[in-house]
């Protein structure tokens, strides 16, 4: 599996370098943003980094504002955000979490704590990705079920079904394609009386005639 990508956004170059070195040592790939605006640009795209470490206090856009913007996007697999903050009071922490951050780490970051928290984030991201994949495949299955619930045009005589592409298909073919149903051929008592028995009797008649013919020779 590819290493997860982490965005490190901090206007302070020493702390940016130290945090990046910690992440790289733990096996993550790192991209940088020098301020809040740049962080938002790198997060507001089709394939944003899985995790982001955002400094709280940056010129321009501050960490919590960036988080609010990310959350407003309403992605199915949103970026996991950890705020880096020199502030440690519980009021600040609550404010950061309310803005939509998943977690916070106080600065200067302790390596073991930072990596432990980032690893938690990575687990959440992986679960989220697996869940999104599962939802996608269930939606696909559901679409097939829906196809079976619609009104199906059927030939009144030969019982063929007209599919979405306007082709007439045998009932068996149609249902095998649109569901997990497979068919095994048999006959009902009514059709036994109507088709099978006369055929068997006819066969027996032929056999008796052949026997008589042999005896007569």
């Amino acid at each position: 599996m590819l290493p997860l990508q982490v965005l490190v956004a901090d206007d302070e170059p020493v702390s940016r370098t130290v945090v990046a070195a910690m992440l790289k040592k733990a096996g993550y790939s790192v991209i940088f943003a020098n301020d809040g605006e740049e962080a938002w640009k790198k997060l507001d795209c089709d394939d944003p980094p899985a995790l982001a470490l955002l400094d709280w206090e940056m010129p321009g856009l501050q960490g919590p504002e960036v988080v609010q913007r990310i959350r407003a996007r309403g992605d199915t697999s949103p970026t996991y955000v950890i705020l880096l903050t020199a502030r440690g009071s519980s009021a600040d922490i609550v404010q950061g979490l309310k803005a939509g951050a998943n977690d916070y780490v106080t600065k200067p970051a302790n390596e073991d704590e930072l990596i432990a928290r980032v690893n938690v984030g990575a687990r959440v991201v992986q679960l989220q990705t697996a869940l999104a994949e599962r939802v996608r495949s269930l939606e696909e299955a559901l679409a097939n079920v829906r196809a079976l619930q619609t009104l199906l045009p059927m030939c009144a005589y030969c019982k063929s079904i007209r599919n979405d592409q306007n082709y007439w298909e045998k009932v068996e073919t149609y249902f095998t394609q649109h569901s997990n149903v497979s068919f095994t051929h048999s006959y009902c008592p009514h059709c036994y009386e109507r088709y099978v028995r006369p055929e068997l009797e006819a066969l027996e008649g032929v056999k008796a005639a052949q026997d008589r013919h042999r005896q007569g020779r």
Partner: protein, 119 residues
């Protein structure tokens, strides 16, 4: 850390340990960036103080606090923290001596960094 340490040896050691095998030394990289980035910010802080731009003083102090904390420069971190705090609350009493102390303490840190890097 002991109060005499300009740079906390535990922090320095953990920065040294961050270097991946075969890569350039992280400690050297961090200390080099520190020496490049910090003097202009102290300069900016001093001019902003002279101009009476307290918001800029606070910003510079806040970022100095971050830099100092990351290399275990305890005293420099504490002085920056106090300037940051004063700038935030607008309590300017004792600000001038703190800014002088900041310059003096940075001098000590710089000497220590150069000693470490020449080893």
């Amino acid at each position: 850390m002991s109060m005499d340490d300009v740079l906390d040896p535990t922090v320095i050691e953990s920065l040294r340990q961050l270097t991946p095998p075969g890569e350039p030394d992280v400690l050297t990289e961090v200390l080099t960036i520190f020496l490049q980035e910090v003097p202009p910010r102290i300069e900016r802080l001093r001019t902003s103080w002279a101009d009476g731009n307290i918001q800029e003083v606070q910003r510079a102090a806040h970022s100095l606090k971050g830099s100092a904390g990351n290399i275990g420069a305890g005293a420099l971190h504490e002085i920056s923290r106090q300037i940051d705090e004063k700038g935030r609350t607008g309590d300017l009493s004792g600000m001038a001596p703190l800014i002088d102390a900041l310059t003096v303490e940075f001098g000590k840190v710089e000497v220590e960094i150069r000693r470490l890097m020449s080893n």
